[in-house]
């Protein structure tokens, strides 16, 4: 019976989404620095 259902752990899934958003906010700072860096 068990294999007939697919259990989705919504909290784990949301956790991944939050992690992606945190990664985005960290990386956007670094990316902004890269875009505005003065040419060597």
């Amino acid at each position: 019976m068990e294999e007939l259902f697919t259990y989705t752990d919504i909290f784990a899934t949301k956790g991944v989404e939050y992690l992606i958003i945190i990664a985005f906010f960290i990386l956007i700072v670094a990316f902004w620095g890269l875009v505005n860096m003065r040419p060597q």
Binding site: T13, V16, I20, L27, V35, P39
Partner: protein, 422 residues
């Protein structure tokens, strides 16, 4: 004597050579003169494009008379959206997005640096809507009823197409008002130029509101096809993806079109503007790279949110990865690198890759990832007539753009009397 000489120079510089149109007869005389071709007609571009355009017009008449079926299109009940919707309308509207982004930057954020290219961009946006969105007529089975949502014979307020029709119509009006001061300067109508100039800011605000709504509104069409679009592309947030992608799609088009215009119409542009143009490209590349960076993360979040990660290890998954890495992430870093190093060649190349990526993305929604479970042999492929009609629409738009730029002060400086109004 020196003072007299300087005065003479000032008078010569401000000499008004605008047409003196006082009545309808003057207007017709002026228009007839302007309609005459200028320069050499037998250029390679004209010789190649003219036969394609004529053939396309014949096919358009044939399509309007005979309907949408074969041999004109390969559309059928399984694939109702083809090249005309996917490329002409949905992609064309994304490419026209540069006008609202640049208007926001120039008129709302007051970044005067970009003012030099605003007229060409607004003209490009207006013509894109006129021709590509106008191509929607070809996609409507009963095209003779197209005016119904406008006059209320049958508004069809529950249909997405009602929203699209009114947005397109109002946005075209807004862009025409934004561009109208240039037309008034061309006609030498000083009083009208003053009135139209005062309407610009209102039209810009109205146009930006409409753009944010209809760029995403087009995606509402895709939302209705939940069971037909591949899970890697389908999400209830398609409207947000369409809106965000229209920012860098439109600006890439501005970079691409502007770079060609600077070569083709180089004689109309003054030296200061030529030098300043690299700064403009660098600024646009920065905006593109940041927008693409955000868009890439949006795609990743939605991939997880829609539980579509398992689909990545499949042929459609590889195609999806190629789209978001090869045509989003790679040009994003190319834009960033180009802006940082002030390398305009890299920026222009990134713009071309981005445009190809947008075409792929929009075609994915309309017929590649649409009915993705159908065997390849039964998939939709554009018919030759569809391709020729699309080519003729694009070439007609280029001809219209060239005609206007060669006559109106789009790239060249406005007349002295108009500059005084600022």
């Amino acid at each position: 004597m020196a003072g007299e000489k300087l005065d003479t120079v000032a008078i010569v510089e401000e000499k008004d050579d605008s047409p003196k149109i006082k009545n309808l007869s003057d207007f017709w005389t002026f228009l007839k003169k302007e309609l005459k071709p200028r320069g050499n007609i037998a250029t390679p571009f004209n010789l190649i494009s003219l036969p394609i355009m004529i053939l396309g017009y014949i096919f358009i008449v044939y399509r309007l008379a005979a309907g949408l079926g074969k041999p004109i299109t390969n559309l059928n009940q399984d694939f109702p959206w083809g090249l005309w919707i996917g490329f002409d309308v949905v992609t064309g509207v994304a490419f026209a997005g540069g006008a609202y982004v640049l208007c926001f930057v120039v008129y709302i954020l007051r970044a005067e640096k970009y003012h030099a290219i605003i007229r060409a961009t607004v003209l490009n946006g207006f013509l894109a809507y006129l021709f590509y969105a106008g191509a929607i007529v070809l996609d409507i089975g009963r095209w003779w009823n197209i005016y119904n949502p406008m006059i209320g014979n049958s508004f069809g307020v529950n249909a997405v197409m009602f929203l699209v029709a009114w947005h397109f119509f109002l946005y075209m009006l807004a862009e025409l008002v934004e561009f109208s001061p240039t037309i008034a300067e061309w006609l030498g109508m000083k009083r009208l130029r003053k009135i139209l100039g005062s309407l610009t800011l209102g039209a810009v605000v109205f146009g930006i509101c409409l753009s944010t709504l209809h760029q995403s509104g087009l995606a509402a069409l895709m939302i209705m096809a939940k069971n037909k679009i591949h899970p890697l592309w389908y999400t209830e947030f398609i409207p947000i993806l369409y809106f965000v992608s229209s920012i860098f799609a439109g600006l890439s088009m501005v970079i691409f079109e502007g770079s060609i215009s600077h070569k083709v119409f180089g004689d109309q542009i003054d030296e200061a503007h030529h030098k300043h143009y690299d700064d403009i490209l660098v600024g646009l590349a920065r905006i593109c790279s940041v927008a693409m960076f955000g868009y890439f993360f949006l795609k990743i979040i939605l991939l997880v949110h829609e539980h579509a990660v398992p689909y990545l290890n499949s042929p459609m998954g590889y195609w999806f990865l190629l789209e978001i890495i090869g045509f989003v992430l790679v040009p994003c870093f190319m834009f960033a690198h180009g802006a940082q190093q002030r390398n305009t060649s890299t920026i222009k190349f990134a713009a071309v890759i981005t445009m190809i990526g947008i075409i792929i993305n929009r075609l994915n929604y309309t017929f590649i990832a649409y009915n993705w479970y159908v065997p390849l042999s039964q998939k939709y492929w554009p018919a030759p007539m569809e391709l020729i009609i699309t080519a003729s629409i694009i070439l007609t738009e280029i001809w219209a753009f060239r005609w206007i730029v060669n006559r109106m002060p789009v790239l060249k400086e406005p007349p002295a009397w108009a500059r005084k109004l600022h």
